[in-house]
Amino acid sequence: MHELPVVRSIFEIVIEHARVNSAVRVVKINLRIGALTDLVDQWVERYFEMLAQGSIAQGAKIEIERPPGLMRCRQCDAQWNYDRQSIGAPCPQCGSRESAIVTGREYTVESIAIE
């Protein structure tokens, strides 16, 4: 479970920016997690609840956006979306297995909503 240190980083980023913006409360946190990266929603919520207790982020809602990854064929340049299940699939246009990962590594705190 690598969620705890990851959630601690999220918490620190959120608190830092909430302070800079003189927030009294953090309402919502939007995360963007790519198809290649691992993060279990339920653990994120649980750890965040634990870490945020007594802070201005207590009770904040966490929303995780999981954009599909983009793959490109090295043979014919076709591009298509993949998820964790379909990652090894051949090119839908020419059948080649020589593909390059274009996106899927997103791992960011996109935005926070504060009061």
Binding site: H2, L36, D38, S111
Partner: protein, 220 residues
């Protein structure tokens, strides 16, 4: 009260990225080549480290940092190879991060080393996310694990540059398909160097040692 949305787009692991950059600079100043070795539990990381220490040219000064609580490097073997073995207490964490590694590195004389092997915690999910300022990421996969592993842990296979396929002496007893594995790995990462070897039977290690020696030389 009005709700205000603030765009951040900030990398979640930015602190680790910053720590890793600092470490990378330290490693570069000292001219030490740092290999971050990762695997599932039981794939044979420690055996590979031991075989590597035995076979590397004597003039390559080596230290090993052990983050894997389940394995233990024989300190005498490391010392025989002119190096040191250090164990990191990860306090149960599933990966090493750059700050942890930095504290361990403080105990070493980096300038007097040519090679630092970091044996990461045995797991293929988490370490992929955490850069350590290493020169090279290596992975040990054993044929007992199944050739579909690359597709289960795609990030790891895109983030490493060398793969030691260990325990090939067991191939007759498994349904592991080496060519299917190669195909899956190279589809994710066409630049991956793949070495088929057996630490137990001491097969295929020469090519690995040759490759590693070249990489160490190019870092100094």
């Amino acid at each position: 009260m009005t709700v205000k949305v603030i765009d951040l787009r900030e990398p979640i692991l930015k602190q680790n990225v910053a720590d890793a950059q600092q470490l990378a600079a330290r490693f570069a100043r000292s001219g030490v080549f740092v290999l971050n070795l990762m695997s599932s539990p039981g794939a044979g990381k420690t055996s590979l480290v031991v075989q590597t220490l035995k076979r590397l040219p004597a003039q390559i000064r080596t230290a090993v940092i052990e983050g894997d609580v389940t394995s233990k490097i024989d300190a005498e073997r490391v010392e025989a190879a002119g190096g040191r073995a250090l164990q990191i207490n990860t306090h149960g964490a599933c990966h090493l991060d750059a700050a942890m590694l930095g504290r361990a590195v403080d105990q070493l004389e980096l300038d007097e080393l040519d090679l630092l092997i970091v044996e990461n915690v045995g797991n293929l999910v988490c370490p992929a996310e955490f850069q350590l300022g290493e020169n090279c990421r290596g992975m040990v996969l054993s044929v007992a694990e199944g050739h579909d592993k690359p597709l289960k842990y795609p990030l790891m296979f895109t983030q490493t540059e060398v793969l030691a396929l260990n325990k090939i002496d067991l191939l007759p007893y498994t349904d592991f398909d080496v060519s299917a594995c190669r195909e899956a790995v190279l589809a994710l990462n066409p630049k991956m160097e793949i070495f088929e070897l057996s630490c137990r039977k001491q097969q295929g290690l020469e090519l690995w040692i040759e490759w590693l020696t070249q990489r160490i030389k190019s870092a100094s």
